[in-house]
């Protein structure tokens, strides 16, 4: 894999300097570079089953808001969205999260191969999408993934919502305060490994990264790359 310098790209992760500092090796995911691994993908996959922190900020995501948002998305073939604060996996691997009766968020999978983001962006028009308004979630929100068996215990140091796996089911969403910063937590296991997506104010990404690393220390948590998460996800499909 070619080593890339994120600063050579117009779009940069909100924590790319942190990633560089940890020794990340980057991969171009089309429009944004992702920390693929930090030198030892194999060992990272093991770490990721215990407690890992990955930056997925450069991966595609999009939001829609308004009284007609869910109906419009349904018309675009997005499935689920039947229940507030639940994310549903789509056939193309993306996930559609209903944040409110008037708001949805669609997240890429780790491969970022789905074309839905381009399609929705080009199809959506202010005049024709009735009461449905596009939200640039790729820029308004950072996107981190916390994986591993200690993830819920780590979150308990930062967050007042009970995220234990038997109380916070797969696909469940909590919009809450993490380390006094507003964020969206989505239970999204990679294969059989417990995992949470964490999205929040992109300007607070650096702050949140620091809080997470600090909270992870006692469990031996560490940054992991996209490759480690891919291994966890593949582990389940095999």
């Amino acid at each position: 894999m070619r080593t890339l310098d994120p600063a050579q790209f117009a779009r940069r992760s909100f924590v790319y300097r942190r990633l560089v500092g940890h020794g990340a090796v980057f991969a171009d995911m089309g429009g944004g570079v992702v920390a693929e691994h930090f030198g030892a993908a194999e060992a990272e996959a093991v770490s990721a089953t215990r407690l890992g922190l990955a930056d997925l900020s450069p991966l595609p995501r999009i939001g829609f808001k308004g009284r007609g948002a869910l109906a419009w998305l349904s018309g675009q073939g997005v499935r689920g969205l039947a229940e507030d604060n639940r994310a549903d996996r789509q056939t193309d691997g993306t996930r559609a999260a209903r944040l409110a009766p008037t708001e949805a968020l669609i997240l890429s999978d780790l491969t970022a191969t789905s074309r839905i983001f381009e399609r929705l962006t080009t199809t959506w028009r202010l005049e024709t999408a009735s009461q449905c308004y596009l939200l640039p979630r790729g820029d308004s929100h950072y996107w981190l993934h916390i994986s591993g068996e200690h993830a819920a215990a780590m979150f308990a140091k930062l967050c007042g919502v009970d995220l234990r796996p038997d109380r916070f089911a797969a696909g469940a969403i909590a919009q809450t305060s993490i380390a006094r910063s507003n964020a969206i937590v989505i239970r999204s296991d990679q294969g059989s490994t417990l995992g949470f997506d964490l999205l929040g104010d992109s300007a607070s990404a650096d702050y949140m990264w620091g809080c997470l690393l600090d909270a992870m220390a006692e469990f031996g948590g560490r940054p992991v790359g996209r490759a480690a998460l891919m291994r966890l996800a593949d582990g389940a499909s095999r």
Partner: protein
């Protein structure tokens, strides 16, 4: 170093590791203890009994409870004062000192206070130092030096403290026989249980008390219950964990180590047990006098012999269990004083009788005799003839240990915090639970189950009740528990006042029986008033050993029933807690713009702006003034670049977008053309200005509205709140973090932008002042706003946040040949002041409406409604009180006044300066100030009182100060 003469052979269940010696020092002398010892147990193994000096009389004090429940064991560590010696483990090299003495702990120079005790009556401080005025200020240091506790070491290293949330279906507080049983029942019903135990191991009284003649029963029950609990995966055990409160909706602060756990439980079982009560008699505070349970803890937990020759004072069978433990530990029992006339037959009592110990029925301890150093050396006992009354003492016993086992009071603090209450129960002869709030279930000896099997059954009942309360599948009816609040466990009157006093009711505060009686005689006869006036129960022990005696003495002195006297209310925290626990890890969110690191690399001095950090200026602190001036000059003469990402950005979209802005802001937006920006000014419902910015119309149905850095979130929430009531067809999105923004400003800004903007026609006719465009800059999709906060030709460029740094880099690259200069907030403040633009919150306050800010021009008067309009209209029916004007100073050599310097007329305050600075462009001081309406005409003079009380003359100038025709920004 000495061998430990009081160490016993190995005990079953002891907490010490006999293979590991740990050396520490106390009062400068080195001692060897064993791993697992507490400071007090290790010292006791060497026969060291004096741990502290009392608060008021400086009397020597030793261990009373060995359970961390009294103030006698508070000692000083190098880095920490007021540490409980009976629960704090020893570590290698630990340096321990006594507290509250002058000279040495053994020979305290302030012990003379003991002799003058009668001159220190109850309420002494209230009475003695309240006049003359200021007397307390003189006396306080003297008194504090003699009545303080430990000393804070300001050099103590910072330690890492943090907090964690916790969640459980059922929290069980206390892991004694009742708590263990309750936890098991709840877990077996399928619930998650959190079992919280203050001690390092499970078991409570099962770990030290003696329930039968041979001591097997307690060990057997402990083994059964503890192993079942450990095997139950649904039970999470926290040992060494103190539950400090029971707050609203079962919110439990639990301290374990350096972490404060904030646990939410759906049901709480309180199995906090009971505290053994002292006997009140003369010198009952002498080191060597302790609770029976304290002696048992020393023996069982630490393998330490609590003395050589003991006397037991009792009124129940448990006292005989203590005697058996003492005998088994090889301690001579000189006698048992039983407060009862005829101790009934019972297994333990009979076992003691069989071992030929002298039993003195109906005998009370009359006076503890003390050695020259104040330590117990013997006891005079007297026959009881009535309620606390004795005949002359006729028994003298030599002893160095006196164990008190006369009864219990429930550990009801947590129950109190939750709003429950206790009342005196005549049969049980102690406090009993009167009420508990919903979701809080008391069990065990807290709830009057003093017998072991009763406590276990009661714990099971409580566990089942908790499960039923959560709708868990029933495992049968909770059993009806018999035998609670039975008589025989507590003696109703273990108080034997002595004519010469020193019969302590409260050890922490050195309060004797007469102090309490005197306070009542002075009229403080309600238990809560009595507590506050006498300070009984207000020391570190928080009344654990005092409340019951206090109630009894009050009942006797007032002739009222104990049931009516009641108990004082306990308040959290349950035990002392450190600021570190309360502070925890400390989360202070910081928001950084996409260009943040570029600012740092350029040497910016950062300043907070709301949660954001913004560059104040670029350069070292000692070049501050020069740096700001150079930045201002760059913008006026050339081109500058400022990061404005922190400004709020709101997308208002939908068919009613213009109508919505019409309602939210003072101006008119319905007819605003697409591609144009218009100033926005927001008021609250009282008409006060709360925010401003510009509204950019990109589409009939789309406005992009900016807000101030600190106001964005409030503006957003206010908009949502109003539209929740208006129901307009509009969507409001807070896009602040989604966009990074810069303001490229200066006469040569167009030149710089032209190098990068490929698809926007930048010519003045095509892109005029207050025009807005969408396009690309350096290949990045951008919203371009030709607005002029700093009064020069300039462009705000807003791009997706992830591309903010790339935009910054591109603009600096494109501007480099022209000498582009980044500028900070300080330069921007000066630049805008030259243009007379207000900063909301600096040039306005909570009472400034638009006319007061001389911004009537921003109000669209024909609109049906905007937020604040009605309030402004009402206020304008009265004459204006003040008005914001521009000013300059009459004396050009005068330095600028500061913000909030007052405008004075005829000695009265009539206004204030809101902004002022020296303008390098104009070579004079300029500013904004509130002045009376009659002084607002250009040329009018007014006086400002500056630092030091000097008055300077100012003259009204109509802003803008610079370029009044706006030729620069509109060119």
């Amino acid at each position: 170093m000495k061998r430990a003469p009081f160490r016993l052979p190995a005990q079953i269940g002891e907490r010490i590791d006999r293979s590991r010696t740990v050396s520490f020092s106390f009062e400068g002398r080195t001692y060897d203890g064993l791993a697992g010892d507490t400071i007090a147990s290790a010292l006791a193994s060497h026969g060291v009994r004096v741990l502290s000096r009392s608060f008021k009389y400086h009397r020597p004090r030793g261990a009373l409870t060995m359970a961390g429940q009294d103030a006698n064991t508070l000692v000083q560590l190098t880095e920490e004062p007021n540490v409980l010696a009976d629960t704090t483990p020893i570590t290698g090299g630990l340096e321990v000192r006594g507290q509250n003495y002058s000279g040495s702990l053994a020979w305290d120079r302030d012990a003379w206070l003991n002799a003058v005790g009668r001159f220190l009556p109850v309420g002494f401080y209230y009475k003695a130092f309240y006049k003359p005025l200021g007397a307390w200020r003189r006396w306080e240091p003297v008194i504090r030096a003699r009545a303080g506790l430990g000393e804070v070491n300001l050099d103590t290293a910072h330690r890492y403290y943090d907090k964690a949330y916790g969640f459980s279906d059922v929290a069980v507080i206390g892991a004694g026989p009742a708590g263990l049983s309750a936890a098991l029942e709840a877990a077996r019903a399928g619930l998650d249980v959190l079992l919280v135990e203050e001690n390092p191991v499970l078991g409570g009284s099962l770990t030290y008390a003696r329930f039968d003649a041979d001591g097997a029963l307690g060990r057997q029950r402990l083994a059964e219950l503890a192993s079942a609990v450990r095997a139950e995966s649904r039970i999470t055990v926290m040992t060494g964990a103190v539950c400090q409160g029971l707050l609203t909706e079962n919110w439990l602060p639990i301290i374990q180590g350096n972490r404060l756990h904030k646990v939410r439980a759906r049901q709480v079982v309180l199995a906090t047990g009971s505290v053994e009560q002292p006997v009140v008699f003369r010198n009952n505070d002498a080191p060597g006098v302790m609770q029976g349970s304290a002696a048992q803890r020393l023996i069982r937990h630490y393998g330490v012999r609590p003395g050589r020759r003991a006397v037991v004072v009792t009124g129940n069978a448990d006292g005989y269990g203590v005697a058996l433990d003492l005998l088994d530990a090889g301690i001579e029992v000189a006698g048992i004083l039983d407060l009862r006339a005829t101790p009934p037959h019972e297994e333990r009592t009979d076992a003691v009788r069989a071992r030929n110990v002298a039993i003195y029925p109906r005998y009370a301890p009359w006076e503890a005799r003390r050695s020259a150093r104040g330590i117990l050396k013997g006891l005079s006992a007297a026959p009881i003839v009535g309620h606390g009354k004795c005949e002359p003492a006729d028994v003298r016993l030599e002893c160095d240990l006196l164990c008190m086992s006369i009864g219990y009071a429930p550990t009801a603090q947590l129950l109190h915090y939750a709003g429950g209450s206790v009342v005196y129960d005549r049969a049980a002869a102690t406090f009993a639970i009167k009420s508990a709030p919903a979701g809080v279930i008391p069990a065990g000896s807290l709830d009057g189950a003093y017998d072991l099997e009763t406590a276990i059954a009661d714990g099971r009942r409580a566990g089942m009740q908790a499960a039923a309360g959560l709708g868990a599948p029933s495992r049968g009816e909770p059993p009806a528990v018999r035998g609670k609040n039975a008589s025989g466990w507590n003696h109703p009157w273990p108080i034997f006042p002595h004519p010469r006093g020193k019969d302590f009711v409260d050890f922490d505060e050195d309060l004797q029986v007469k102090d309490i009686r005197n306070a009542i005689a002075e009229g403080y006869d309600h238990i809560e008033l009595l507590k506050r006036f006498s300070t009984a129960g207000m020391g570190p022990s928080q009344g654990r050993h005092t409340a019951l005696s206090l109630a009894r003495i009050t009942a006797e002195a007032t002739g009222r029933e104990l049931e009516i006297i009641g108990a004082t209310t306990a308040r959290p925290p349950y035990s002392a807690e450190k600021f570190g626990h309360l502070a925890g890890r400390g989360f202070e969110p910081v928001r950084l713009s996409a260009m943040h690191h570029r600012h740092l690399e350029a040497g910016a001095e950062m300043m907070p702006a709301g949660l954001w950090l913004r560059p104040a200026y670029y350069g070292p602190k000692d070049r501050r003034e020069a740096a700001i001036r150079e930045e201002v000059e760059a913008v006026r003469a050339n081109v500058g670049l400022i990061d404005v990402s922190t400004l709020g950005g709101l997308d208002v979209r939908g068919p009613d977008a213009a109508e919505f802005l019409n309602r939210m802001y003072t101006f008119a937006y319905a007819n605003q053309q697409v591609g144009r920006a218009r100033y926005v000014l927001m008021c609250d419902q009282t008409g006060a200005i709360i925010d401003d910015g510009v509204a950019c119309r990109f589409h009939d149905w789309h406005f992009y509205v900016t807000a101030t850095t600190g106001g964005a979130d409030r503006v957003y929430q206010t908009m949502l709140w109003h539209n929740a009531q208006w129901r307009l067809d509009v969507d409001i999105t807070n896009a602040t973090a989604a966009y990074a923004g810069v303001n490229l400003a200066g006469p040569r800004s167009r030149e710089v932008l032209a190098k990068l903007a490929t698809d926007v026609d930048l010519s003045a006719p095509a892109f005029p002042y207050m025009g807005v465009r969408m396009g690309t800059v350096a290949g990045i999709p951008a919203r371009l706003l030709r607005v002029g906060f700093v009064g020069e030709l300039g462009y705000e460029i807003h791009v997706p946040a992830s591309a903010g740094e790339a935009l910054w880099d591109a603009l600096l690259w494109a501007g480099a040949p022209l000498g582009i200069k980044p500028f900070g907030v300080e330069a921007q403040r000066l630049l805008r002041l030259e243009k007379g633009h207000i900063i909301v919150g600096q040039d306005t306050d909570g009472e400034t409406h638009p006319y007061m800010a001389d911004m009537g021009w921003a109000i669209a008067k024909k609109k049906p409604f905007f937020v604040g309009a009605r309030a402004i209209e009402a206020q304008m029916k009265r004459p204006l009180q003040r008005k914001l004007v521009g000013f300059t100073l009459v004396d050009p050599a005068e330095p600028p006044p500061e913000e909030c310097h007052l405008v004075i007329r005829e000695g009265a305050i009539v206004g204030r300066v809101t902004s002022a600075a020296f303008s390098p462009s104009l070579s004079r001081v300029i500013g904004l100030a509130f002045v009376p309406p009659e002084q607002t005409e250009p040329g009018a003079r007014f006086s400002i009182k500056v630092a030091g009380g000097r008055m300077i003359e100012a003259q009204v100038v109509k802003p803008p100060f610079l370029d009044p025709n706006n030729a620069r920004q509109e060119g």
